[in-house]
Symmetry: C2
Subunit: 431 residues, 2 copies
């Protein structure tokens, strides 16, 4: 890790900046894929699968019956773990649903707000060396809870042209009754325009590589909503003298093993603890199957020495990390000072992996400083809020004059008329 | 208006499609403006103001002292109306703030969700023939309620190079202490990159013309959040035999007077009522100062004859209107069947202008079918939700095995280790 003193503020600002991810080239390549899918539908999807995944999917759509059959051999301990995670994630997300709101700002002026499901959502599950069934749960559970009518989940084929069984199991248990086997930018394109097999959706959610992220941004330009922009995964850890060096090292490594572009920042108040963490890092790294990846991402990671946890929090809030671990004795107090982060892990016994899998929070979180303005995926991501208003005769009298005056001053006479007619009508019909 | 029978479904689908708004040319022109502001800051803003607004702003930033001075001559009836509207809008938006959530999905696993303000927001107020002070209220009131630390409001100069006094008054009364005098795509660029005078923000909100809308979409590609994509304003009205023809005509006209690209759809169950509405339309149109504009937008508007209000609601939900007026005797029941809309006006006494100005709901709403996936501006638009979790020793025991099993099956050994180390530690330290 690269050591840096907080007093070098200028240098720090520069060094906690993420590298710029997107190039013109990337967008152009992705635009070409999107156009191809728009024009040629399923056929384009199959061609791109051969080209990018090395294998065409055996079936573009897998139905519930097949999913049931395909998941028979998922190991029972994994089934149990997935079921357990779903219970917790369901509980925490269910509690987030906004109840209908109804108030009367002026007498006879009734204002309401209701949360309604987005009817058609598309969920993207990345491929990779291992099946990311946890992402299935994180997206499908809230979509089902929200009551989305059409839930299209897409994921690339494995080396045999199938959707990995653990992914199918997680989808089934989360309440889905079908899945689509197509990935990459072409999978996003399919949900943006619709194909013979795959429905056009109103919103696309889910993580993905830079091609998927670029495709989502282009989908947004086409009028499809997206959950958030995406970048490489990140963690910031604030550690004081009381931190457990082995725990902190393990947390750093569990971020670093994600990919060589993972971002890891350790902010510490105590020099000898930082040294101990570095020693632990070196020791634990050697035992990891993905040590080659973790080593690369650790090499460009930052270790920032600060005076106290307040300074640490200032850095963290400026960085706006996707994950923030508070490995300090005052973790609860510090948590109250967070202004920008995706998800926060409080205290020495709370590893990031708890939230990645089973605590109940969502692991689809804003990266690349998007946490300043974006929330992680939550129930709001699958719903929209519609407002309603109703005026009684009393309500018309209460705000009528205000509306007419404002409309006239904005030179919108018809707006004024629409209210004035109601006011006159009430005056004439009610003694 | 163009008459159409619901039974012509195919034709209807085609005809309720909005015209495609954005061209490559538009994006290229806006990109050029954005780049110029990025490179030359305030100087570029002043140049563009001369070019596009015909006048450079006298000052780029107007402070509270100046705002107080500049608003002395705003007519007192307008001041009173603005103050009244602010009270209602504040009440309805305050009630929307999500309280902190704290639950324990498994014993010892504490999950929380907290709404925190987006620190830096940019609010766009369009220029035009009349000062749109109502948009000031709709954006500034919730931004202040949310507790946003930096609120940058930009608006183009009037013909004298000033911000219109009514806009300054609405801003002051909504709680702002400064404003910026720059508009158009360059105003959005200023908030995207920051200039000498104008801060870079985390999110940009507010309505605007197609240049502003394109600039917001390009800002989104640069990592700045935006409220929603934008298109011309729209209303759908469902009217049955009980509707008041004069009211409905006035409501249609109050949408049509916005601009020649306004979208108006009237869906009616009763032929003689529809005829009466058309007669009223013709009569009221003649008396409007903006009749030339309203006439153009009415000419391409649709009048759809349906069998009953259920059919009407099917069309409306497929169209997903920005505003939906329910001028029917069963309006309350129909309101329960809305699945896609920005804001709904229930019953014969509730004109759209009530919500445009003073009922309490927000008038910054999703157009162009974005209501399928986007909410209008509400408190959520100025806040992000951060999740927190904390595990006690009991919590580690409750979900530890689940996390380890899932992590290993995703081939993320370091994720498993981070939890296993805590499990071992608890076993060793607690008898």
């Amino acid at each position: 890790m690269q050591y840096i003193q907080y007093s070098d503020k200028k240098d720090l600002d520069r060094r906690i900046k993420r590298p710029v991810q997107k190039s013109e080239d990337l967008f152009q390549a992705v635009q070409k894929i999107m156009r191809e899918v728009k024009n040629n539908g399923d056929r384009a999807l199959l061609n791109f699968s051969v080209r990018f995944d090395g294998k065409a999917p055996k079936k573009l759509m897998v139905d519930k019956e097949s999913m049931n059959k395909n998941t028979k051999n998922v190991p029972s301990d994994l089934k149990k773990a997935i079921d357990h995670a779903i219970v917790n994630i369901k509980k925490f997300h269910e509690a987030q649903i906004t109840p209908p709101l109804k108030i009367e700002p002026s007498t006879g002026v009734i204002c309401e707000q209701r949360s309604l499901p987005i009817e058609k959502v598309g969920l993207y599950i990345p491929g990779g060396t291992a099946p990311l069934f946890s992402s299935v749960i994180m997206l499908a559970v809230p979509a089902v809870l929200a009551g989305c009518r059409e839930i299209a989940m897409v994921t690339p084929p494995d080396e045999n042209g199938n959707i990995p069984p653990a992914i199918q199991y997680a989808a089934l248990q989360s309440g889905l009754s079908k899945m689509y086997c197509t990935g990459g930018a072409q999978g996003i394109a399919a949900m943006t325009y619709g194909t013979e097999s795959i429905p056009k959706v109103d919103k696309i959610l889910g993580p993905g590589n830079q091609y998927v992220a670029a495709a989502k941004q282009l989908a947004f330009l086409e009028g499809v909503a997206i959950d958030m922009p995406a970048g490489p995964s990140e963690v910031a850890i604030i550690a004081d003298a009381e931190a457990n060096a082995a725990f902190v090292a393990a947390d750093l490594l569990s971020q670093a093993e994600h990919g060589i572009d993972s971002q890891v920042i350790l902010i510490g108040t105590d020099n000898s603890k930082l040294k101990a963490i570095e020693q632990e890092l070196a020791r634990q790294l050697e035992e990891l199957p993905r040590k080659a990846i973790a080593r690369v991402s650790l090499e460009k990671s930052l270790l920032v020495k600060v005076k106290d946890t307040n300074e640490a929090m200032t850095i963290s809030n400026a960085y706006a990390p996707e994950h923030l671990i508070l490995a300090t004795s005052n973790a609860r107090v510090l948590a109250g000072k967070v202004t920008n982060a995706g998800s926060v892990f409080i205290g020495t016994l709370t590893p990031e992996s708890a939230g990645d899998y089973a605590s109940g929070t969502n692991h689809t979180l804003p990266t690349n400083r998007a946490a300043t303005a974006f929330s992680g995926v939550n129930m709001d991501a699958f719903m929209k809020k519609i407002t309603f208003q109703e005026l009684t005769p009393q309500g018309v009298n209460a705000i009528g004059k205000t509306v007419v005056t404002m409309a006239k001053n904005e030179q919108l006479q018809a707006h004024a008329n629409a209210m004035q007619l109601r006011m006159d009508n009430i005056k004439n019909t009610q003694p």
